[in-house]
């Protein structure tokens, strides 16, 4: 066995141990540990933002900064594609 494979197996075992440990620590399905934020959003989203769709009010209002990052990812993808295929014109 070469040294590279040996290092790969060691890393695989370490990552597998961490993943299994994390999976064992999870809450049972359908029973989140800290539900205060969920309840707050569900109870107040309609009166706070005026939107009937609570998901949209989370995406664009409560967590709007996250959506800004998402939009930046899309912008970067478009900029990269146009940059790569630019020389192929003409």
């Amino acid at each position: 066995m070469s040294g590279r494979n040996f290092v790969g197996i060691i890393f695989f075992v370490i990552v597998a141990i961490f993943l299994v440990y994390g999976a064992l620590l999870m809450h049972p399905f359908g029973l989140p540990g800290e539900a205060e934020m969920d309840d707050n959003i569900i109870n107040n989203a309609q009166e706070d933002t005026g939107a009937n769709n609570a998901v949209t009010s989370v995406v664009f209002d409560y967590r709007g900064f996250d959506t800004l990052g998402e939009a930046t990812v899309l912008f970067t993808a478009v900029a990269g594609v146009i940059l790569i295929f630019r020389r192929l014109k003409k």
Partner: protein, 162 residues
């Protein structure tokens, strides 16, 4: 990709307006029904990609330039960030503040808790942000597909001579 048969072209032309209407409906009703700017924009861009596949990238590139789409995409991004900064300017001085909600004017009808009838004149800046993100996603996804398809055609046609 220089276009498919006449049957495919005719059928895609027939279906195309309905896809556009559905996608724009999803964008415009993002604050009332499931979906929003991203999802509706993906629907509209898929319809445009269908036209691109049916008619070929050369035919499409003669009518839509990727520079125009790129400008539209940047306009969507700028509109989104501008709406976020307007929250910093007005009332509460918070980034991403929903300054139009519950103001009883433009898009400002207040909504009570529970199951209420859908009213499109609600939710403040959320519909405007949906439109901005929708424009961004439409132009962005379509320009990616268009530029890649055109580059493939170009390589097939002229790449061998070099």
């Amino acid at each position: 990709m220089s276009g498919m048969s006449r049957i495919v072209k005719t059928m895609s032309s027939v279906v195309f307006p309905f896809i556009m209407i559905y996608g724009l409906y999803v964008i415009a009703h993002g604050h009332l029904t499931p979906g929003g700017g991203f999802q509706g924009g993906a629907v509209v861009a898929s319809g445009a990609a269908m036209i691109l596949v049916a008619y070929g990238s050369i035919w499409t590139m003669e009518r839509v330039k990727e520079k125009q789409l790129s400008v539209l995409e940047s306009l969507g991004a700028l509109g989104f960030i501008a709406l976020a900064f307007f929250g910093l300017l007005f009332s509460l001085k918070i980034f991403f503040n929903n300054f139009l909600a519950n103001s009883e004017y433009f898009l400002g009808t207040s909504v009570s808790y529970g199951e209420v009838a859908a009213n499109i004149n609600t939710a403040g800046v959320l519909p405007l942000m949906n439109f901005a993100v929708g424009l961004k996603v439409i132009a962005g996804l379509f320009v990616i597909v268009l530029v890649m398809a055109y580059a493939t055609t170009w390589i097939k046609r002229e790449g061998k001579t070099k």
